[in-house]
C-alpha cells in the first residue's frame, strides 16, 4: 500500500495554499504539523479526494486517485477539521447513515455501529441529537464515522482537538495500533499532540514542505541551536532584550538546586539561536518543539 504525492499544488485566487508538495507515504503513522494557515486542511482535502489540485497528482498504489475517485474513497476514512453538523439526527442514526454511504452491507451495520459507539465512548449518548453534542462528543462522532468501514487510509484533520486527556491518550493508542497495517495521516498545529506518535512528521509552512523526517531527527535539527541561560530576576532589561531578539521556548523561575552560578533567585530562559546569545549561555539538548521551530525558521 503506497500513497504518493507528486508536485501537489492548490491555488486559491492568487494565493498558493499548497505548493509543489512531494511525499511518499507507506503504512504507519504520518503526522502533518504547521502553524495556522500552513495549508494542512487544503492538503488533507486533496488527500481525501474531495478537492481537486490545481497542479500535481496523488497516486494510490501507482494510480492517479482522480481516475479512480470512488474506488479510492472507498478505501479511506476522513475526519474533517470542521465538525459542524446541520442535521438533527441522533448519534446512532448518523453512524448508520455513514455506514450506508460507505456501502457497509446492511447485515453488518448493527455490529459495526456497536463497535464504533463502544470504541469512542458514544454508547451513552447514542440517542442524543448530533446538534446537542459538545465539541468533544462531536469530535468522537466524526472519528467514529471515519473508522466505520475499517479504511486502509485514515486521514484525520486535527483529531485531538476538543478531546480530554484520557480521550487523547486513548486515541493515540488506537492510532498507533491501527497504523501497523494502515496508512494513518493526522494533522495538528499543536506539536505536543504528535510527540507520542511513532512514524514520520511533515512540517508545512505557507503551503510548502519545511521538513519531513522522524520526530527524533526533527529534534536533531536544533542541535547546537538551543541555549539555556540563567539570569537574576532583577535583570529586567536583559530579559526584555533577549525576548525581543530571540525565539524563547521556555521561561521559568530558577529552582534552588538548578543554579549553576550561585544565584539564589532568578529565571531560566531557553532560547533558539545560531550563536551563543550571551557569554553565560550553555547549549542544551533540543526538544521536538524546538526542532519544529528551527525547521520553520
Amino acid at each position: 500500500m503506497l500513497l504518493e504525492v507528486e508536485g501537489l499544488s492548490k491555488l486559491y485566487g492568487r494565493h498558493w495554499a499548497i505548493r509543489d508538495v512531494d511525499l511518499t507515504i507507506r503504512p504507519g503513522l504520518f503526522s502533518v504539523v504547521g502553524p495556522n494557515g500552513a495549508g494542512k486542511t487544503t492538503l488533507f482535502r486533496m488527500l481525501a479526494g474531495i478537492l481537486a489540485p490545481s497542479r500535481g497528482r496523488i497516486m494510490f498504489n501507482g494510480r492517479d486517485i482522480a481516475r479512480q475517485a470512488t474506488v479510492y474513497r472507498d478505501r479511506i476514512g476522513y475526519k474533517p477539521q470542521n465538525i459542524d453538523v446541520y442535521t438533527n439526527e441522533t448519534v446512532a442514526a448518523g453512524l448508520e447513515y455513514f455506514a450506508r454511504l460507505k456501502h457497509i452491507p446492511p447485515r453488518l451495520i448493527p455490529q459495526r455501529i456497536d463497535w464504533a459507539l463502544d470504541t469512542f465512548h458514544l454508547t451513552e449518548i447514542a440517542n442524543r441529537p448530533l446538534t446537542q453534542l459538545s465539541k468533544g462528543e462531536r469530535q468522537r462522532f466524526f472519528l467514529a464515522q471515519a473508522l466505520l468501514a475499517d479504511p486502509d487510509i485514515l486521514i484525520l484533520d486535527e483529531p485531538t482537538t476538543g478531546l480530554d486527556s484520557i480521550g487523547r491518550i486513548e486515541l493515540i493508542r488506537l492510532l498507533n495500533r491501527w497504523s501497523i497495517e494502515r496508512i494513518v495521516i493526522v494533522s495538528t498545529h499543536i506539536i505536543a499532540d504528535v510527540k507520542p506518535f511513532d512514524g514520520r512528521m511533515l512540517v508545512l509552512r505557507d503551503g510548502q514542505v519545511c521538513a519531513c523526517s522522524t520526530p527524533s531527527l526533527l529534534a536533531q535539527r536544533a542541535v547546537d541551536k538551543v541555549w539555556e541561560l540563567q539570569l537574576p530576576a532583577d535583570a529586567a532589561q536583559a530579559i526584555a532584550d533577549i525576548q525581543k531578539q530571540y525565539t524563547v521556548t521556555a521561561f521559568q523561575p530558577l529552582e534552588p538546586n538548578q543554579s549553576t552560578n550561585g544565584m539564589s533567585s532568578g529565571v531560566v530562559i531557553r532560547l533558539i539561536s545560531d550563536r551563543p546569545p550571551h557569554p553565560a549561555a550553555k547549549p542544551v539538548p533540543p526538544t521536538l518543539e524546538e526542532g519544529y521551530l528551527v525547521s520553520l525558521m
Partner: protein, 300 residues
C-alpha cells in the same frame, strides 16, 4: 516447561553406566560410545503431554497477541456476495431518506397541510376558482424552501465527511434533490386532489401541470446554487426568480410563463419552463461538479 524428567533419566543412565564400569558417575568423562548410548536413550524419552488446562491457559495467554481479523475483510467478503452491487443514483437515494431526519419529513408535510388549509379557507372566502392560482403560486415556493433546507449544510464538516464517502458527491446531491423534490411533488399532488374535492372548476391535470413546471425549474436552480454556495443563497435565488415570474404575471406581459389554464400562452409557458429546466440541468450538472471539486470551505 521443566526439564526434570529428562534430567532424571540422564542421572539414571549415568548410574547404570557407572555400575557397568564398577565406578562412580563423576570418576571420569564418558567415552564416545557411552555418549552415543545416552543420546539414543534420550531420543526416545517420552515427553510429558501438557494437560488440557495448561493448553487452554497457554491459548488464553497468547490470545491478546493475535491480531484481530480486520472488519474490512469481512465487509468485502459480504459485499462480494451481494449480486451486482448498486453504486448508482438508486443506491444513493435510500440513505438520503434517513439523512434528512424524521423532523424534516414531518415539518414539510405540516407545511403543505397548512397551505392546503389556507387554500381551502381562501376558496371559502372568495370563489372556488380562486384556489387554483393560490396553490399554483404557493406550491413551487414550498419546494424551494424544502430544497434550500435540505442543502443548508453545504459549508459544514458533516457535508465534507459525506463527500468523502465512496458515492460521487454530485450523485449524492442529485439523490437528495430527487428525494426532496419527489416528496414535494407527492404532497403537492395530495393537496391539489384534496382541494379538487371542493370543486375547483379547473381541470386538475392542467392545474397540476401549472405548478409542476415552475416547481421543477425553481427547485433545480435552488439545488445548483445551494451545492455551489449554500442553501440560503439557493433559496434566495429561487424566491427572487419566482418574484420576477409573479410580477410578469401580474402585469399580464405577453410571455407570461405563469399563465393560468385557459389564458393565452398557458401551454407555451409551461413548455418553455420545462425546456428551461432541461437546459439548466445540462449546464448545471457539470457546473455543480466543477464547484464540488474546487470548492473552498472556510475553516474555523
Amino acid at each position: 516447561m521443566s526439564d526434570a524428567p529428562q534430567e532424571e533419566k540422564i542421572q539414571r543412565l549415568l548410574h547404570e553406566l557407572a555400575e557397568d564400569r564398577q565406578d562412580t558417575p563423576d570418576d571420569r568423562p564418558l567415552t564416545v560410545d557411552e555418549l552415543r548410548y545416552i543420546m539414543a536413550e534420550l531420543s526416545v524419552l517420552p515427553t510429558a503431554v501438557p494437560s488440557e488446562a495448561m493448553t487452554q491457559a497457554l491459548i488464553e495467554n497468547l490470545r491478546p497477541h493475535v491480531p484481530e481479523p480486520r472488519f474490512r475483510s469481512t465487509m468485502e467478503a459480504e459485499r462480494a456476495s451481494i449480486a451486482g452491487r448498486l453504486v448508482s443514483l438508486v443506491a444513493a437515494i435510500q440513505p438520503q431518506v434517513s439523512a434528512l431526519g424524521r423532523q424534516f419529513w414531518l415539518a414539510t408535510a405540516l407545511l403543505y397541510v397548512a397551505v392546503g388549509v389556507a387554500g381551502w379557507m381562501y376558496a371559502q372566502s372568495y370563489t372556488p376558482y380562486s384556489v387554483g392560482p393560490f396553490i399554483m403560486f404557493a406550491l413551487p415556493l414550498l419546494a424551494v424552501v424544502g430544497v434550500g433546507f435540505a442543502f443548508r449544510g453545504t459549508q459544514s464538516g458533516y457535508w465534507e465527511a459525506e463527500r468523502a464517502a465512496p458515492i460521487d458527491p454530485a450523485t449524492l446531491a442529485i439523490a437528495r434533490f430527487t428525494v426532496v423534490t419527489a416528496y414535494a411533488i407527492a404532497l403537492a399532488t395530495v393537496i391539489t386532489l384534496a382541494l379538487g374535492v371542493f370543486r375547483l372548476e379547473l381541470h386538475l391535470g392542467a392545474l397540476m401541470l401549472s405548478w409542476l413546471a415552475p416547481l421543477l425549474l425553481l427547485a433545480s436552480i435552488t439545488l445548483f446554487l445551494s451545492v455551489r454556495w449554500n442553501g440560503m443563497i439557493g433559496s434566495s435565488a429561487g424566491f427572487a426568480l419566482w418574484s420576477v415570474f409573479l410580477i410578469m404575471h401580474s402585469r399580464q406581459v405577453r410571455f407570461d410563463l405563469l399563465a393560468l389554464p385557459g389564458e393565452d400562452f398557458w401551454l407555451a409557458g409551461k413548455i418553455i419552463l420545462f425546456a428551461l429546466t432541461v437546459l439548466l440541468w445540462l449546464v448545471g450538472v457539470p457546473w455543480m461538479r466543477r464547484g464540488l471539486a474546487t470548492w473552498r470551505l472556510e475553516v474555523g
